[in-house]
Symmetry: C2
Subunit: 221 residues, 2 copies
DNA sequence: AGCTTTGGATTGTTTGACAATCCTATGATG
DNA sequence: CATCATAGGATTGTCAAACAATCCAAAGCT
């Protein structure tokens, strides 16, 4: 086994930090990212900044306009709706595959993650909820056994997060969300692919609806 | 309307040329892409080459290993199979959406593209087939009205092309392929989403099977 | 007010440099 | 002779400095 730990070059760190800053909303959608300033903030050279930005462009978190430079991606509702459409398809498939293929250890781990999520909901621990959700999804996508689905959904989730920062949605949706995720996991535990797919569909559908109302509220506000 | 023509910077051209070189098989999968040499070949500086490579990395056509540099992505059969799984889902959806939403003009254009494809098959014009296929897909993805599906499928097609160059597959499959595509278009013309989805599924399934045998032949050869 | 010009800010691209890392071939050693 | 260590070259990772091209906004002109 290869346990080497890569010295994690300057660029990778820069990409991570910038990604975090974007999805956390520290850089707002539409905001321009001036290269010189990023050099200052990150303490690295312009060449490295530019390469880091190209990577984030690949993840669709940054859009680089010729002769105007990079800015944080702005997500229209139309685009977001299309992303939800794709999520419906792929998360449904991922759940069905996980129901078919997940090992006992993976089921157990998902159970733990969902437990942590439910606990975080009970204690209203926002950061805990986010972490537990991410973990739950990571496990499910790993269990589904399709690396391409994993990769695509990871990207779509990141993009949908671009909405969140602005709309600060779903304060009250957490309990429902927990129930929906519980339904997915139950189906996986019972090795019922069709039920798992259906539960995942409902979950995405609910998230989409919630985002839509949050978006509408924001629009008028 | 904005008809401005961008002076198309050095980098974009470099990306295009490299992409072409990769999908055409001029650079073989696994081959290392030494920066200095690309500088020579493209006649541009190292910085620009590196940014171009980062973009191609985002398209998954190039994989950059730390301290080893970039090389053309190698596609295992396992990965290819996963891509076909996703294509089944998304192309099916795209076809169904196109059946629902395509305008008369779009239907007509697809008809023309498919006609060109059939003609190219009849005259055994390999380049014409490729061009017509690409056009047919472009039109269908445009007609489906979901830019996210479009974007993802575009990437997956490019990745699958990485197999083609090696396996030089499907010399005889073109006529069947034409029939399958005709089935898709017929369903779209009749505005029958379910039928269109099914036809698209069959098409991807057939392409997957063909790739599999081509892969197996190559393995023993 | 509306148009033009000008100047500053920012990006696009190049060149040159150097440390860190990897790979290979050479040489040392048992 | 086989194996291990070492040295050297090749390649990448990163930086710094420079300059032309482009864009944007504000000042100036009519």
């Amino acid at each position: 086994m290869d346990l080497r730990v890569t010295p994690q070059g300057v660029q990778s760190q820069a990409v991570d930090k910038l990604r975090e800053a974007i999805v956390s909303g520290h850089f707002q959608p539409g905001q321009r990212l001036v290269e010189a300033e990023l050099c200052r903030l990150l303490g690295i050279s312009r060449g490295s900044v530019r390469e880091a930005l190209r990577r984030l462009e690949g993840e669709r978190l940054v859009v680089i306009t010729p002769n105007r430079g990079p800015s944080v991606t702005e997500l229209s509702w139309e685009e977001a709706a299309q992303i939800y459409d794709v999520r419906r398809l792929l998360e449904g498939e991922a759940a069905a595959l996980a129901a078919r293929r997940a090992t006992a250890a993976q089921r157990e781990a998902m159970e733990a993650a969902l437990g942590a999520f439910e606990a975080a909901v009970a204690t209203e621990d926002a950061l805990g909820r986010i972490a537990a959700t991410a973990r739950f999804y990571d496990l499910m996508l790993a269990a589904c056994g399709n690396a391409v689905i994993d990769e695509i959904l990871r990207g779509l989730h990141a993009r949908i997060n671009l909405l969140r920062s602005r709309s600060m949605s779903r304060q009250g949706r957490a309990p429902e969300s927990a129930r929906e995720m519980r339904a997915i996991l139950s189906a996986i535990q019972e090795r019922a692919p069709a039920a798992a797919r259906k539960a995942a569909l409902l979950h995405v559908e609910a998230a989409c609806a919630a985002a839509k109302v949050a978006m509408a509220e924001r629009r008028v506000a």
